[in-house]
Amino acid sequence: MSLQVISPFETPGDQGALPPAALGLQGAAAVADDLAAAQRGDNLAFARLIRAHQSRVFSVALRLTGSREDAEELAQDAFVQLHAALAQVTGPSHVLHWLLRTVSHRSIDRLRARERAPRLVQIDADHEPAGCDNATDPLWARRLQRLLLQLPAAPRAVVTLRFQEDLEPTEIAAALDMPVNTVKSHLRRSLEWLRAQQAGDGHGH
């Protein structure tokens, strides 16, 4: 599926929306009802829209910022912005697209502001035992999360949307306002770097 680059305030029709599978068919129907009610001013319906999307929006912000506090603030901002722009949202999949796009952009802005005032992310190698090649190794998962925080803002967002949200490169390109080739290049280089770290840790094949 290909997406057009749209502003969160544009009305994209079906083109700016994520595929229905991204929501689940049952979920999509419930979100459609809640969206229509929220657009008529029903705050309880809007609260249900928040509950339906909060985990994914919060998680994207968390992966990008590495801070629960920042993630909560950025996710809240995205929902408050969504409420102000409800009239321009065209459907349930557009809600998710709108939220992921808004929270990604805001998180990247926050990261870039932080990068201007550099702050090192400390990775304490002593606490990361090597030599464990286990698919469910929680320590390796934590190490990966921390390695992700070492990537610059844009590739970090690309990797997060690809592997947390399972978006295709074209959808990531639409959400982040970047060419598809740039998305693919960020993905390729980030994976290469992560593989190198994995090999260095003894988590490789």
Partner: protein, 103 residues
């Protein structure tokens, strides 16, 4: 293990704090109230300006009316004085004419 699969496992969705929805709704409600208040600011300012303009116009008209009355009174007094002086002159002239005629 494949790095892509590892990433999918590592980047699992996490839950925000339990009161997340309530906090967002509190912000949404506060924003709606602020927007409603802001919606009344312009009409209220226009209404206040209108009232002030009407009051100012009333005061100016009152002052003009008072000035007009004062001018009319002054004119009436001046005419009265002139009239009485003309009467006196008339009387003197009549008296002089009578003396000439030996009345």
């Amino acid at each position: 293990m494949d790095i892509e699969e590892s990433l999918r496992r590592a980047l699992r969705v996490e839950e925000p704090p339990p009161d997340f929805t309530q906090r967002v709704m509190a912000r949404v409600n506060a924003q709606s109230q602020a927007r409603r208040r802001a919606r009344w600011h312009l009409p209220l300012a226009l209404a206040a300006s209108g009232v002030l303009a009407v009051v100012a116009l009333g005061i100016v008209q009152q002052q003009r009316e008072a000035q007009r009355l004062q001018s009319a009174q002054q004119l009436a007094i001046a005419l009265e004085i002139t009239s009485s002086q003309l009467n006196q002159v008339q009387q003197k002239l009549n008296r002089g004419q009578n003396m000439e005629n030996g009345i």
